[in-house]
Symmetry: C2
Subunit: 157 residues, 2 copies
Amino acid sequence: MNDVVKRSNGALNNVGLKNTELKKAGLKATLPRLKILELMENSEGRHMSAEDIYKKLLELGEDVGLATVYRVMTQFEAVNLVSRHHFDSGLSVFELNEGSHHDHLVCEKCGKVEEFVEESIERTQHKIAKKFGFKMTDHSLYIYGICPACQEESSRT
Amino acid sequence: MNDVVKRSNGALNNVGLKNTELKKAGLKATLPRLKILELMENSEGRHMSAEDIYKKLLELGEDVGLATVYRVMTQFEAVNLVSRHHFDSGLSVFELNEGSHHDHLVCEKCGKVEEFVEESIERTQHKIAKKFGFKMTDHSLYIYGICPACQEESSRT
DNA sequence: GCTGATAATGATAATATTTCGCATTTCTAT
DNA sequence: ATAGAAATGCGAAATATTATCATTATCAGC
């Protein structure tokens, strides 16, 4: 018998695995943290604002406060479980850190986000930081545009 | 006799030139807009938040409301006189659009901003947008790090 | 499995940033 | 100079995020 928990709504599983995931990161495995982690892993759109996360948890009948979502996301960010992005909307969106580093392509119409990796850009960024004598700690690259679906839509009118 | 206006405090000059600059952009040449434009051209640190601009105008004895600063910056952005950036702090900073496009290197300690241009990155971004079928409208690249001065400082303690 | 120390949570108040509503003022074309 | 339209300043409202604090949950040690 393992850690996997069966739930009739199918929303939240693998509680035990996430439990260890949190402990390994040095965080107590509390219910809100488990639920948030699971929600993020099970959501298609992987880029969510604190408000998004809060609302989805309410929909799932989970009793989590918005302040807790913010606190938890900040902690998750500190231990590198998630990244925080500031898209042009001005608010913060969070993304689970799984797989390797990547950058983002954001549709200005519908908000759709594509991810991409471009090694040459990564290398060039390091080179630039070095040229200015900066010790590079982080970077963010967003390309904004209109996605294929939204181009379709506007040409159809 | 030309448009240049002499002022004893030396802060705000060239009123007439800016006047035409605004008209050309399709904006009425109002006092707040002229003052903001001049302030931005005469400030060393070219990246300012709305609050920064507001406070500096007050210091100069100009009577401009904070709401007006926000409105004007939004209009300036719309006609491409300024760019709006969302650095990781979360708040918006504005920058005068003069000279050619460039990206930013931001010090996480002192907030110092360096600008750079890297053609290869520009080209690659267009290539990526194209690959995903996006019509690219904009992009932002920020490299975060510790500037030389701040590295010095922390090693000296 | 209990239990107590400690840390985390939820509700709400507080703060910060940005926008809105509206009476008044300023621009600009005449 | 003047009228009509647009812009402004002020304060209130909206939005996003953080802080406060009484209550509750977690977990190490038994």
